[in-house]
């Protein structure tokens, strides 16, 4: 987020301030504090809530990002195709249409939450990819039932897979990042 960096410069003084740090690692996957904060902002924007930068919220978000990193790694290993950029753009257009009367209102909201459109698009793209991968990976195991029960089975399978992936990966959280 180049914009965020520019904002940061404004407050930089001759005294050193923290720019970023490790927040969590999962094997060789790295999640920085900056990513955690961005994720909190985007989630708050999508949920129409005020961002929660409390230590507990940061920790929860870091855990969610670790899970996403494990899924992304699995997608890379299994060469799962990324969704086309147009799909995320379609989702964004839907959000704009539903929530914002004008483009200006949308831009203003982004500014209030401290995020950029490109970051939001990237987030939506990741979300789409994760959903599609989850369906592809666990759907066959849930075949044959009602939609609700199928979803429950997918969630269950997903949770079991994540548990196994977490156990087989060295995961570290850096408490300094969540103060």
């Amino acid at each position: 987020m180049g914009g965020a960096a520019a904002v940061l410069f404004g407050v930089l003084a001759s005294q050193a301030v923290l720019l970023d740090r490790l927040a969590a690692t999962a094997g060789s996957e790295v999640i920085t504090l900056g990513q955690v904060l961005d994720e909190i902002r985007v989630a708050a924007f999508l949920n129409r809530e005020a961002p929660d930068f409390s230590p507990a919220s940061k920790r929860r978000t870091a855990e969610r990002l670790v899970d996403q990193a494990l899924i992304s790694r699995e997608m890379r290993i299994s060469r799962f195709p990324e969704p086309a950029p147009s799909e995320a753009e379609k989702m964004l257009a839907e959000i704009k249409r539903e929530r914002f009367p004008t483009e200006e209102a949308f831009r203003k909201a982004l500014e209030e939450y401290g995020i950029t459109e490109s970051y939001l698009l990237a987030h939506l793209n990741r979300q789409l990819a994760t959903l599609r991968f989850t369906d592809y990976r666990f759907q066959p195991l849930a075949n044959g039932g009602q939609a609700n029960s199928q979803a429950a089975v997918i969630d269950e399978q997903m949770e079991a897979w994540l548990k196994q992936a977490r156990a087989s990966t060295q995961i570290r959280f850096f408490e300094e990042a969540f103060r």
């Binding site: 987020m1 410069f9 001759s14 050193a16 301030v17 790295v30 920085t32």
Partner: protein
């Protein structure tokens, strides 16, 4: 390395990429970044915390085995070179303490101490162990549903021995568990489950009370329906008895074993199934239902349609085998074997380019019109042979493409085979690994070639990053000199990181014979850095090694007492033997060793002291040894020999199969209790000094030196004993042997050996015949278990014309032939042999003549035939040979004592070497 560059725009994307990049080097355990405004820009400050890696792991303190030092080391489970956290150390200490507690050390304390080697980011960890006293076991608590009285179950554990309660070691606990399981098995409760639930290790009372969780289960019987199979056979083939548990897998394996057994008995269509039957409130039966089918005999196996491979080549790969006279009386056949053979033959064709080859195996019942006779027809449709039209290699950037291409097995014009592709993959990846590309990958594809029945192959290499050695770190060496270790390294600072060179270094260090363990690792293996530390952690072996052994020889090795002259041809004897060796390893920290060998039997007493200097003057595979020995032997029953000898010997391995040796020796030999014509004693039995320079060449290409089935073994030994080396007798010596081993058919081995020896005296004093110029102990003797089996031990060749005792000769020629064949099962084999040859007075006396001319003639060729049995053991085949000598020598001997010989009162009698000889020992004859 970092995407952030001074003078360029600062973005969070670059900042995050920089953190990611630094973390992925693996060298930092934490990274934070600060910034401050400087002259309108931003100064970025990275703060990092060092990541430590596992270095040497040691266990020290008052160690009481069990557990051994090695078990404690393994329990720590800290892998050399891996990233280390404080949690890892405390977990490892807990694992070590837990192992100690499992071995009865209830109050064990384990204190880890970390010594940090900052320049190399390596943490060497010492676990200091204070075990305290070892506790004893107490009666177990029996939980669960044991069915049987818990007191009986507790007693079955037998943790109270003759001298009180047993020590609470892990092995004693496990033995007790095994005994409880056996107790249930003997009670017929085969479904019983016994597990250790808890070990209550009470430090105050120093007692350990195990809690066993026992499920007794019902009594289980096992029987067969449809065929009579004895209970002992059922116990052999149904693994529930051996494993001590019952589950479906074991029962299915039992069914399969029983089917195999029945098929080996000719019931080729036998079917075996099983079921459980509850036959009472406390009883279940396992019933094997057998449908035998007709008993048959496989009389013939025919192969049709093969043009490219001979029938013999195909038969060699088949498991199906027709009936033999001794083995496989009904032959070997089943549908499983037929499927297996079909796949094996198809694989053979595919490996040679016959991609469409098809094989079917059909049976012909009542073959030749005889009921129960079965024939098998193997029908092969070979199809076209596909050839390689071209090979393309993509992705080779940093290695020499021409070198890779030259090493390929898949070559244009040659048959296409996936086996060759596999060989190419291994060779290419091996080359990359050896050149510093540990992550290189190989993929291949193929498409039809330009001509019919041709294929074009494409290999794609992904090289990955090239890694280099940052430095080589060696830990754990205390007494061994650094210079010796350095000489044995195959990897050096700055070299490409070669996995093969790493393994070669490990092998070199093991080969020094002074290290018990040589652990090898790359520090920070997953870190994305170009230069890596190579780690070797050494555990030096104990400096002293003592071995005591025993053995015995049974054959015609006795020659009566030292005073009697009555049995010059030897009598049946038993010679027990003990050996005692002490080795001092790693002398002076240079991997030299000193060895004392003591050997005592009724036939020989020997003591020797040797100093071995391996890798002499830094030359690989070269060793020098200095030896002094004293020996007293009566293995030639004509005399008692005493030898004092010193020699220096240098050996050099030239190739994997060939070695040369050079030896300079000085010995003093004397004989006593000599049983020959008293007039010859001054000439033949005077104490003599022999100084000899000799050279030997050994060529060994046998597949197994203890029990060879193929290959060749040659030796050539040439020596000269001139006066300037201190010799009182001057002669030259040549001894050569050649053995070959040829497998043929299935399981048959034809083996043969020829031995030739020649002693040539020179500068012989006038008047002394050349056949009497060399003293008795220096002559050739032959005959016995590892020589010519038509003779007792060392009884071949010329004999004293007065006493009839063997006096050796100046030439020897012996040829052995053996046919080795399977007899019973896989571990008992038979041997038919023919030995021919003799020891001759001189080289001119060597003769192939069959008949002995008279009782003074020993220069003819003695033949013996015989039969032997070999029983395979881990130390080599146990051997019993029975020989019949066709033309054994007759000779004139005496009845009486040496005193009567001197007085001239001994009675002259005609004697003959017995036609029947027997030998019982360990190892093949050759």
């Amino acid at each position: 390395m970092l995407p952030l560059k001074p003078g360029t725009a600062f973005t969070t994307r670059d900042l995050r990429a920089a953190i990611r990049r630094l973390f992925r080097t693996g060298r930092y355990s934490d990274i934070s970044v600060e910034g401050r405004s400087v002259n309108g820009g931003v100064e970025v400050i990275f703060h990092t915390a060092v990541q430590w890696f596992v270095g040497r792991v040691e266990v020290s303190g008052e160690l009481k085995s069990p557990p051994t030092r090695g078990q404690l080391y393994a329990a720590a489970d800290l892998e050399l070179g891996r990233p280390l956290t404080q949690d890892d150390v405390s977990n490892a200490a807990e694992q070590v303490a837990a192992l100690l507690r499992r071995n009865g050390f209830c109050s064990a304390k384990v204190t880890p101490a970390i010594a940090r080697d900052s320049p190399h980011q390596q943490a060497n960890i010492d676990f200091y162990v204070e075990p305290g006293p070892r506790a004893d076991l107490r009666p177990p608590v029996i939980a669960g549903d044991p069915v049987i009285d818990p007191r009986e179950v507790a007693e079955a554990a037998d943790w109270r021995g003759l001298f009180g309660w047993r020590a609470a070691t892990e092995s004693n606990v496990n033995r007790g568990l095994r005994r409880v399981r056996q107790f249930y098995q003997k009670s017929g409760r085969l479904l019983a489950r016994v597990s250790l639930e808890d070990l209550d290790c009470d430090a105050a009372s120093n007692r350990v009370t195990p809690t066993l969780n026992v499920f007794g289960g019902p009594k289980v019987g096992i029987e067969t329906v449809g065929a009579d199979i004895s209970q002992s056979r059922l116990k052999r083939y149904v693994p529930i008895f051996a494993v001590g548990a019952v589950d479906r897998d074991l029962l299915a394996e039992g069914a399969s074993n029983l089917r195999d057994y029945l098929q080996s008995q000719g019931y080729f269509d036998a079917q075996v199934g099983y079921e459980f039957r509850r036959t009472g409130p406390d009883r279940e039966d396992i019933v094997y239902k057998i449908n035998l089918g007709e008993r048959q005999k496989l009389v013939r196996v025919m192969v049709e349609g093969n043009r490219y491979f001979s029938t013999e080549t195909i038969r060699e790969r088949m498991f199906i085998e027709p009936a033999g006279r001794i083995r496989l009386r009904h032959g070997r056949f089943s549908s499983t074997f037929a499927r297996r053979d079909q796949e094996a033959i198809e694989a053979l064709y595919r490996a040679n380019g016959f991609r469409e080859a098809a094989v079917s195996i059909d049976t012909v019942p009542n073959y030749g019109g005889k009921r129960g006779h079965l024939a098998v027809v193997v029908r092969i449709t070979e199809g076209p042979q596909y050839l390689v039209s071209g090979v393309t290699i993509n992705g080779v950037r940093q290695l020499d493409l021409a070198e890779i291409t030259a090493s390929l097995s898949s070559v244009p014009g040659q048959p296409f085979s996936e086996t060759n592709v596999g060989i190419d993959r291994d060779s290419i990846i091996g080359l990359y690994n050896a050149s510093g590309f540990p992550n290189a990958t190989f993929n291949w594809s193929m498409r039809p070639g330009p001509d019919p029945h041709t294929v074009s192959i494409e290999y794609t290499i992904t090289e990955g990053p090239r890694l280099f050695v940052r430095d080589v770190l060696v830990t754990g060496s205390r007494r061994t000199r650094d210079s010796l270790i350095e000489r044995n390294l195959e990897v050096y600072k700055g070299d490409p990181l070669s996995l093969s060179a790493m393994s070669a270094t490990q092998e070199n260090l093991y080969n020094l014979g002074v290290f018990e363990r040589v652990s090898m690792a790359i520090q920070n293996p997953e870190g994305e850095t170009e230069r890596k530390y190579m780690l070797y952690d050494l555990e030096e072996a104990d400096r002293y090694r003592v071995s005591i052994g025993g053995g015995a020889e049974i054959a015609r090795i006795g020659g009566g007492s030292t005073t009697t002259l009555s049995d010059p041809e030897g009598v049946a004897g038993f010679s027990p033997r003990v050996t005692f060796d002490v080795t001092r390893l790693n002398l002076w920290g240079l991997a030299h060793r000193g060895v004392f060998v003591g050997r005592a039997s009724t036939l020989e007493q020997l003591g020797s002291l040797s100093y071995f200097w391996p890798r002499f003057l830094g030359v690989r595979d070269r060793e020098v040894n200095f030896t002094a020995l004293a020996d007293r032997a009566i293995n030639v029953n004509t005399f008692t020999s005493r030898r004092l000898e010193g020699f220096v010997q240098m050996s050099q391995k030239l190739t994997r199969s060939s070695t040369v040796l050079g030896t300079l020796s000085l010995r003093r030999v004397s004989v006593s209790n000599v049983k020959i014509d008293p007039a010859l004693i001054p000439l033949l039995a005077s104490p003599t000094r022999v100084g000899m320079l000799s050279g030997a060449y050994i060529f060994d290409r046998r597949d197994n030196p203890i029990n060879a089935t193929r290959g060749m073994f040659n030796t050539l030994d040439v020596g000269i004993a001139p006066t300037f080396l201190g010799s009182q007798v001057t002669f030259s010596r040549l001894f050569a042997s050649n053995s070959t081993f040829h497998p043929f058919k299935k399981n048959l081995v034809f083996a043969r050996r020829i031995q030739f020896g020649w002693l040539a005296p020179f500068r012989v004093e006038p008047g002394v015949p050349s056949d009497q110029a060399i003293p008795l102990p220096e002559r050739f003797y032959a005959g016995g278990a590892a020589s010519h089996r038509g003779f007792p031990e060392n009884q071949a060749g010329p004999r004293d014309l007065v006493t009839g005792f063997p006096i050796g000769g100046n030439a020897v020629l012996i040829h052995n032939t053996e046919l080795r064949f399977p007899l019973l099962k896989n571990n008992i084999r038979g041997v038919l042999f023919h030995d021919m040859g003799n020891v001759y007075s001189t080289i001119r006396d060597i003769s192939f003549r069959f008949h002995q001319r008279n009782d003074q003639d020993f220069n003819y060729m003695v033949h013996a035939v015989g039969f032997g049995l070999r029983y395979s053991t881990p130390v080599g085949p146990f051997r019993a040979d029975f020989a019949y000598s066709i033309n054994p020598p007759a000779f004139i001997g005496l009845e009486g004592t040496t005193q009567q010989l001197l007085e001239g009162t001994a009675e002259t009698v005609r004697k003959r070497i017995s036609r029947f000889q027997f030998f019982i020992s360990i190892g093949q004859a050759f």
